[in-house]
Symmetry: C2
Subunit: 362 residues, 2 copies
């Protein structure tokens, strides 16, 4: 891992809760279909998976939003389901239907066949992409690596794809809790190995996406999602002191659990838009940095309304603590959508920097 500090280290400073000149901003799915240049690369690649599995193409689309917008971080372009794919489930995509697995986990026998994949083998393409992106970034901004959370991966692994009501994975959780815990345990081992390998390849920040934790009742969330997020936060080797690689736990629907997540050992929590940052900061009591949390649909509003919502979000974070923006990473509460206007994204990114640099948020 290169030891050269990035030129723009706002993100790393904010995640360490150190003062910054302006609030750093990056956006979930910033490399995505809303950009014409992304659609062009994807057309050239032939398929989404070919693009994700070819390091040069993954690097190309990772860098595209940075060429357009004044973003403070790059995030590895990859799929959330690379790990179960490498466990032998057979990831494929049907246009307009999202990801699917050829061999979903449907029985205790299926669970018993799971293994931690070789990070230098089947998943080598991910680490090659990380190294290449780091080289091409040349220290301009930090690079974020990521993984799906154990519970979120389990949802896809058991359902076999997206789901309306998570009937199969919830049935397994109820009827075969021991098997579900074995599935989550081995997946947690795999996620830790995966994030460690991304870090070794050059990732400077690591994020876990718990996209589907929020579909669980509180007692099930604590048993089947939070427990494994906490194990990652505790066990993931990531250095010490100022060299520590920050871990961000993002979760849709995680607002009720922020106090518990703040005690998990993670350096930062990513939150959706269903809680004010004022409340989120207050209930995490300065134990973690916070990332978020504009409703992505605000990008459908006019440029003036986007600026108003950015200002409101910055102000909300400031009010939840000491009145400063220290420890805040601006982001959306979820990812960008294909029908969003890139010019509105520019308005958002520039407004974050402008308002926070001028301390207009208080």
């Amino acid at each position: 891992m290169s030891k050269i500090a990035p030129t723009n280290d706002r993100l790393l400073r904010a995640l360490r809760r150190e003062p910054v000149d302006a609030t750093p901003v990056w956006l979930m799915r910033q490399a995505g279909r809303y950009l014409p240049e992304y659609r062009a690369t994807r057309a050239r690649a032939g398929s989404f998976l070919a693009m994700a599995k070819t390091p040069e193409l993954a690097c190309e689309v990772t860098l595209q939003p940075l060429a357009r917008f004044d973003l403070d971080a790059a995030i590895l372009f990859s799929d959330i389901l690379t790990v179960p794919d490498a466990m032998g489930l057979g990831l494929y995509f049907v246009d307009g239907e999202g990801p699917k697995f050829e061999r979903p986990i449907r029985s205790v026998a299926d669970v018993d066949k799971l293994f931690v994949p070789d990070m230098a083998g089947e998943l080598r393409y991910v680490m090659d992409a990380v190294s290449l992106i780091r080289k091409e970034l040349d220290g301009r901004v930090p690079l974020i690596g990521f993984s799906g959370s154990p519970w979120t991966l389990a949802c896809y692994m058991v359902e076999g794809g997206g789901s309306e009501n998570y009937s199969k994975v919830k049935a397994m959780l109820l009827n075969e809790p021991a098997a579900m815990h074995r599935l989550l345990d081995i997946t947690t081992d795999a996620v830790i190995a995966y994030l460690s390998a991304q870090r070794a390849a050059g990732a400077q920040v690591l994020q876990v996406f718990d996209t589907w934790g929020g579909v669980l009742a509180p007692h099930h969330y604590r048993e089947f999602s939070l427990r494994y997020l906490s194990r990652i936060a505790q066990e993931l080797p990531r250095g010490d002191g100022g060299d520590r690689t920050p871990l961000i736990l993002f979760g849709k629907g995680n607002a009720p659990y922020l106090p518990e997540l703040a005690d998990s050992g993670a350096e930062a929590l990513g939150v959706d838009w269903l809680i004010s940052l004022e409340d989120a900061r207050r209930c995490t009591a300065g134990k973690v940095a916070l990332q978020g949390n504009l409703d992505p649909a605000m990008l459908y509003g006019s440029p003036d309304s986007i600026r108003n919502e950015v200002l409101r979000t910055l102000g909300s974070y400031a009010r939840g603590g000491d009145g400063t923006h220290t420890g805040h990473v601006f982001n959306l509460g979820h990812g960008l959508s294909p029908d969003m206007d890139p010019e509105h994204v520019r308005v958002l990114v520039d407004a974050v920097h402008e308002f926070s640099a001028q301390h207009m948020f208080a």
Copy 2:
């Protein structure tokens, strides 16, 4: 409205927070596709809308689950979008895609054309169904009438159907807030008139479904959903004292707002499964009855696991207050799905009565 008290008045007593011999239970979408007899009636009707708009058929499917299960209430079989349909938007259904409007609200000019429909005209079929169901029920259990909430109706009216990310209605909320408030105001007037007419026709309990309030950020929820729910709770005429017709405000994602909703004037709040009833009861401080909140996906579990989850839910409510089940109406946190097993529904209903009658939940 008939003044004969129903034979089984557990629901009404629970909603008034009076002692009951066992916790009353009904289930959202209890008349629905998971029942073969419902599918047979629908096939006979030719279409969902024909079934909903023919009082005899609406009555028939309303009563079907009561013939099978020991439920403590009937709920009018109807569609959530009857009111905007009567406002001239042209409701229709495409198989497998859910409801759609031929003439959605897309401009300020469209908003200005909206009107409160005549309850004795276009919506007469709803009131006829209510009267007929009351007659056929003959006092066995109370009948619940319902409406969509203003914000939830607005989502469908502006989006023109279901939505992934509510881009159109959120864009209108941001770019045309005055028009959005006019839309919500007139829809609130219509909802109040609609619920009043159902009450006059014989509905003994009224529920408002705010299915999509939970997609809004807190400041938008308060401005565009809660404000209008509160107006309904304040302005809906529903009698006084022991004759008062209880109003239940159900909302997916309403957990963060329960303290505010408890002050709205509604007699009861329906909650989803993303908060424990213990926390819900504690934060509403005995101001309202609570309805809920088993994760509907628990019905995919085995009968034993369903019984365990029922017991846990009853116990959670008891722990949030004085240790009794007073003021609790058992329900799911959302509706039943077509692929659920009716025998599992029976296990649930019977477990609620068995455990609560024996005070096994404490």
